[in-house]
């Protein structure tokens, strides 16, 4: 046998092995992606708990890959992630608290759009789709408030880096730039800032009409996924477990809505540490709308409130006026009567006796 033919034999054998390998891997891969997650994903105990939580969630009828893709669909990222899990598994590192990094979270988020097109589009329209460039390259903001670690609590919460690795310089004088150009268009408040998917819930189903407890007015509209992502602890906290705001307005305690959803909003749209009304980003309704939840007016994803007035106000209000035409920021952005705080005395004289009577009525709501 001369060298040349030996060479040929070896390469033939090698290609056969390779072919078998590929066929074998291919069929395994197909099996893997179609079998039940209890047989596949959960064979890694790191994942077991997530399979459990998924099996009891409102998405229980979906497969893991509907959201997470397959090991190969995200290409390199996903291979690396699963590969590292095996490495850690063998090294006996406790990987139970594995969390996806921000890029993986955003990959998963792109899959939400397929089914929740409506919510996704509205989110895109609203302020919460702001990107890193909106957060960190805003000259007015940066010159008045120096960029610091705390910014990431409310936007960029899934980023595992510290703020000095994201943007420079950390000074009141620019120009500022993001260290990684890819961040320019990266979303800073993704769906998972407010929604936790692996969370107990039920898929939609038809009500049981034979059961009186299922009468329309007794049915609870459940959104079990509604949470707030707590960056420091790296967990989502259910809205009912979030603290309710106690707010004072010149020592008077403001009546704050009991709506648990509002507890999500005020984590970011928050007053100062002393909880004084109107400080920092506080928009808690006072004045004529005191006690209302943000959700009474704002749509959760587009944040739009412009169509809300007619839910409560007849075309002519108590003041015999079309409220949308009254001088609040709703009508005129520059009005000093902010829709959140507008009160009777913004329009009426404070010692008007007729007004006093009316205010008595209103504050009793």
């Amino acid at each position: 046998m001369n060298i040349n033919s030996r060479y040929k034999t070896i390469s033939l054998i090698l290609s056969i092995i390779l072919l078998f390998g590929l066929v074998g891997f291919g069929s395994f891969y197909t099996y893997w992606n179609s079998a039940s997650p209890y047989k596949t994903c959960a064979s890694c105990h790191e994942i077991e708990l997530r399979v459990e939580s998924h099996a009891h969630s409102s998405h229980q009828n979906l497969t893991c890959k509907d959201c997470h893709g397959t090991a190969l669909s995200n290409g390199f990222h996903s291979l690396k992630e699963k590969g590292m899990m095996v490495v850690n598994h063998v090294r006996k590192v406790n990987t139970e608290n594995i969390r996806m990094n921000e890029e993986q979270i955003l990959d998963v988020m792109n899959n939400c759009e397929r089914c929740h097109t409506n919510e996704f589009a509205k989110w895109k329209l609203g302020g919460h789709s702001m990107t890193y460039s909106h957060v960190f390259l805003n000259e007015k903001h940066n010159t008045t408030e120096q960029i610091n670690f705390d910014c990431l609590r409310c936007h960029g919460m899934f980023n595992s880096k510290s703020v000095d690795e994201i943007v420079e310089p950390l000074k009141n004088k620019g120009p500022w730039k993001l260290k990684d150009k890819e961040l320019m268009h990266r979303s800073a408040i993704p769906c998972m800032a407010c929604h936790q998917i692996h969370q107990e819930g039920k898929p939609v189903s038809q009500p049981d009409y034979s059961n009186p407890q299922e009468a329309f007015y007794k049915r609870k509209a459940e959104k079990p996924s509604l949470t707030f992502f707590h960056r420091h602890e790296k967990i989502n906290i259910n809205v009912v477990d979030l603290p309710k705001l106690k707010l004072t307005d010149n020592n008077r305690e403001v009546a704050v809505s009991d709506d648990p959803i509002m507890r999500n909003c005020i984590q970011c749209h928050a007053p100062n540490a002393a909880h004084q009304a109107g400080t920092s980003d506080d928009r808690t309704p006072r004045g004529v709308h005191e006690g209302l939840s943000c959700m009474a007016c704002h749509e959760p994803h587009s944040n739009d409130a412009r169509n809300s007035c007619k839910k409560c106000h007849p075309p002519m209000s108590n003041c015999k006026l079309d409220v949308t035409q009254m001088n609040t920021t709703f009508k005129d952005k520059n009005s000093k009567n902010d829709i959140h705080f507008v009160s009777c005395t913004d329009c009426h004289k404070a010692n008007d006796p007729k007004l006093k009577q009316k205010m008595m009525k209103i504050t009793r709501i």
Binding site: F25, F28, Y29, W32, A35, Y38, K39, T40, A42, S43, C44, H45, E48, L49, V51, E52, A71, F76, L79, K80, K82, G83, M84, M85, V86, V87, N94, E96, N97, T144, E145, D150, C151, C154, K181, F228, H230, H232, E233, K234, I235, I237, N238, V240, D241, L242, P243, L245, I266, Q267, H269, A270, P271, N272, A273, H275, T279, S280, D281, D282
Partner: protein, 186 residues
Amino acid sequence: MDVKNKISRRKFLSLSLVGIGGISLLSLGALNKKPISKWRFFTENEVLILDALVEQIIPTDESMGARDAGATNFIDKQLMGPYQQFQKDYRDGLKLLQQSSMEKFNSKFEELNWENQTILLKLIDKDELKHSHWEKGADKKFFSMVIRHTMQSFYGSPKHGGNKNNVSYKMLKLDTPIIIGQNRYK
């Protein structure tokens, strides 16, 4: 693609191998399936005993007790993590607690009524079961370890497996996460 994001061929190869190796390894796991358990270390029987025990330490009142707040889950989780050295103490301790309960009351600990559970634990706390199976002092040592871990579970961060729904923070009227807006210099 800028230079920084480019991966070297070697890195790509090694990572692909890790990935493919990983997937093949996973397939081995898929063959010998055991039923999925919520628990990482404890058996279902041990969970029943420990649930009853932690509930004696922090009973349910207006707010959740240690059982519902996930103390057992916390201990289970930590035993597979930083508390690995206590695994044997729990395995032996729970077994001995059950034996003591059978001897004294002819009933499983978790099935005893509240008062009898308390009586038994008081004996343990006073180190008075030494004569039986417990080694000298081990009963008290076991009990104080469980107390310690139950407190940690109840007052620590929920991410470690206990303090479900922030129950202890709510009890203490601590706002978590604290509500505080950004500085707005006007």
